[in-house]
């Protein structure tokens, strides 16, 4: 062969290669265009598909899009059994082939995690079909399979079809994971919401402030644990002039414990207002709650203490609660429970524990969250509280003593989180306290209870002119009615009123623990009488009568200070 012939041969080969390249490029271009067109068609399907897929029917739109992508007239979605659900199958058309015909192939797919091709499966219309199944993988675990089927014996699924179905199936698998995660997140969010409500409930019953009464110093501290518990404390000025303090601890955590604590707290306050002794209170409440607690499996401990500030007498009844600690003349005594926790026995006869306190004597009530702190040597217990309390020194206030105990508890805990609520109340007796002109009243935040304002205000204001008395009565009533309507807005609560006077002025401090705030302008214009207004009078009357009206929002509740110049 001569050079010319060789050149001719190589020219031909080059031409063939070039032609082949052109052909391949054209095929690649066509394939790319086809894929792009298919993707353009699929994207709207994908975007319209549900974001939460749990059952096969949830991802049916995706199946349809996959079928359309590979031009398959049939499709199947198969989900393997999981949790308490059995295997699920969804087919288009419905029941196109029986699951039993596919099962052994699906079992192979599940065990290998690889696609399977199935031929000669007879469809419902007796036509032979062939299928391509692709596994749905989540964290390398087969959760199901997507199958596309043809009933055209002249057509087979191509490699491009297989790649397309594979990519589409990966997308569906992700959505299945998203559905599981979404369900888990929904459950967690619900639980968190319930715990938040329980926390708000528990916080709402804690007193916003300690009582102030001549002859007694009261200091308290309540620290909730990370998980909502059933600790609560409270106080009531009894009609006889005694100050009653109580502490409860409902066993358990979360919403049930918080709700049980609320009802017990309310019941104790209501019965204490009837001037019952601590023994009578626990006997009554235990009897009333026995059936409910028994059927609900609730257990609650409670301590009730009543102090007479005029005499220094103290009386306690303790239902299964941690022992109270009483320091008399420097000597500590432990007052243990004298009856079981509430709800254990239907009828009980608790034994009262009494003492006559001297000036400077101290009493501590606390919850087991404070005493049951684990140390290197064992439990802190009440011995820990006793060691932490400052030596008997009249210069230490109840607040300083409580803070010293809490600081010591904090050091012992060494930064570990609270596993239980910590509650402590300290009461120090101060004999010979100067008689005060301070008047105090606690009333329920209801319109009916406002009737109790009249005798209280008479006691504070007299002897003052009748007109002054009527004006002050009206002003304080209007403010309290406002608190009932706006601060509490239908929820239960109390209004705390302190009043005092000197020769020239009279003042009121009115607090609530309501969840709602006020807009309290410094100036309130009078509604125009000629327009016959049916609202807007209350706060206006308050400002007309009082010489000073100040408002501030507390961390939990509202506080009003009212002052009126008077001549006596």
């Amino acid at each position: 062969m001569g050079l010319g012939a060789m050149n001719s041969h190589s020219d031909t080969a080059t031409d063939d290669n070039e032609e082949r390249i052109f052909q391949l490029e054209a095929e690649l271009e066509a394939m790319t265009a086809a894929l792009a067109q298919a993707w353009d068609q699929l994207v709207p399907f994908l975007q319209a598909a549900p974001t939460h897929a749990e059952t096969t029917r949830d991802i049916a739109p995706l199946l349809e899009s996959i079928m359309a992508a590979v031009d398959a007239p049939m499709g199947i979605v198969y989900l393997v059994p999981h949790d308490d659900k059995s295997a699920e199958v969804f087919a288009l058309p419905a029941d196109v082939v029986s699951l039993s015909a596919l099962q052994k192939h699906l079992d192979e797919l599940i065990s290998t995690g690889k696609p399977v091709h199935i031929s000669s499966i007879v469809a419902w219309n007796s036509k032979p079909t062939h299928w391509m199944f692709t596994p749905m993988l989540v964290d390398n675990r087969v959760v199901g399979a997507i199958g596309v089927g043809l009933d055209d014996k002249h057509r087979e699924f191509s490699a491009a079809d297989a790649r397309l179905v594979l990519r589409m199936t990966e997308r569906v698998s992700s959505q299945m994971v998203a559905a599981d995660l979404a369900a888990s997140k929904a459950r967690e969010a619900k639980l968190a919401h319930e715990l938040q409500i329980a926390g708000l409930i528990q916080r709402s019953i804690q007193p916003p402030s300690e009582p102030e009464i001549p002859g007694l110093e009261v200091a308290a501290d309540w620290k909730p644990a990370a998980s909502v518990g059933g600790d609560a404390w409270g106080w009531v000025f009894q009609p006889s002039g005694r100050l009653a303090c109580f502490m409860v601890d409902v066993a358990g955590k979360g919403l049930p414990a918080a709700l049980a604590a609320v009802s017990l707290h309310t019941a104790l306050k209501m019965v204490l207002r009837l001037d019952y002794s601590p023994v009578e209170v626990l006997r009554t409440v235990n009897h009333e709650f026995y059936d409910v607690y028994t059927s609900a499996g609730i257990l609650a401990t409670a301590t009730v203490v009543a102090f007479d500030p005029a005499t220094g007498n103290v009386e306690q009844a303790n239902a299964g609660h941690t022992p109270s600690l009483v320091r008399q003349s420097g000597e500590w005594r432990r007052w243990k429970a004298t009856m079981p926790p509430l709800g254990v026995l239907e009828d009980v006869e608790p034994t009262p524990q009494c003492a006559q306190l001297s000036d400077g004597d101290l009493m501590l009530l606390y919850s087991d969250g404070l005493s049951e702190i684990e140390t290197d040597d064992g439990w802190w217990l009440d011995e820990g509280l006793v060691r932490a309390a400052p030596e008997s020194d009249s210069s230490w206030s109840a607040r300083q003593i409580i803070n010293a105990i809490l600081d010591a508890a904090h050091d012992v805990r060494a930064g570990k989180p609270l596993h239980d609520d910590q509650t402590i109340v300290g009461i120090r007796y101060r004999a010979g306290a100067k008689p005060s002109t301070l008047h105090m009243l606690t009333i329920a935040a209801t319109y009916e209870a406002l009737e109790g304002l009249k005798p209280f205000i008479i006691g504070v204001v007299e002897p003052a002119p009748e007109k002054t008395l009527s004006q002050i009565m009206l002003a304080v009533h209007e403010l309290c009615a406002n608190i009932v309507e706006h601060a509490y807005a239908g929820s239960e609560g109390e209004i705390y009123i302190e009043a005092d006077h000197d020769a020239e002025r009279l003042w009121f401090l009115i607090r609530d623990a309501g969840p709602h705030t006020y807009q309290a302008p410094d100036y309130v214009a009078a509604p125009d009488p000629s327009s016959l207004p049916e609202s807007g009078w209350g706060i206006y009357i308050l400002h007309r009568v009082m010489d000073k009206v100040e408002y501030r929002r507390l961390s939990a509740g509202n506080e009003w200070f009212l002052e009126k110049r008077i001549s006596r």
Binding site: P239, L274, D275, I443, T446, Y447, E448, A449, L450, E451, G452, K454, E466, K467, S470, Q471, M473, L474, H477, E478, A481, V484, E485, A526, P527, P529, S530, L532, P533, E534, S535, W537, G538, Y540, I541, R544, V545
Partner: protein, 118 residues
């Protein structure tokens, strides 16, 4: 020492075109509805006469109820008269200047005479 509730006792009688109401007790946020229900349940009156001789206390809600009664009466072409206002009632009327709006009469008889003359 129990704080008993003193619900409002309400006497109602009709005289010609007037409905005479006598609330005894507190006319306040927890009791005022009784007054309103009384005049809404009767369609024959044109004038309301409210005898306050036994009303021990009235607050802004009670006052608003009286204003509501006044409006209703005027819609019927009549009026609302306050009778036997006590010192405590005059306190709230003075504070709110509503004493310029309500007609007051010293007795029921004079109120009925005034009504019959309209």
């Amino acid at each position: 020492m129990a704080m008993g509730r003193t619900p409002m006792q309400l006497q109602i009688r009709s005289v010609d075109h007037a409905l005479v109401l006598k609330p005894a007790g507190r006319l306040a946020a927890d009791t005022h509805e009784q007054l309103k229900v009384a005049w809404l349940n009767d369609s024959d009156w044109k004038y309301l006469i409210v005898d306050l001789s036994e009303t021990q206390f009235i607050d802004s809600i009670g006052l608003a109820t009286l204003v509501s009664g006044l409006k209703t009466a005027r819609q019927r072409g009549g009026d609302l008269l306050l009778v036997n206002t006590t010192n405590s009632i005059r306190i709230i009327l003075d504070l709110t200047s509503m004493n310029r709006v309500f007609q007051t009469m010293p007795s029921i008889e004079e109120a009925l005479l005034w009504v019959s003359a309209q």
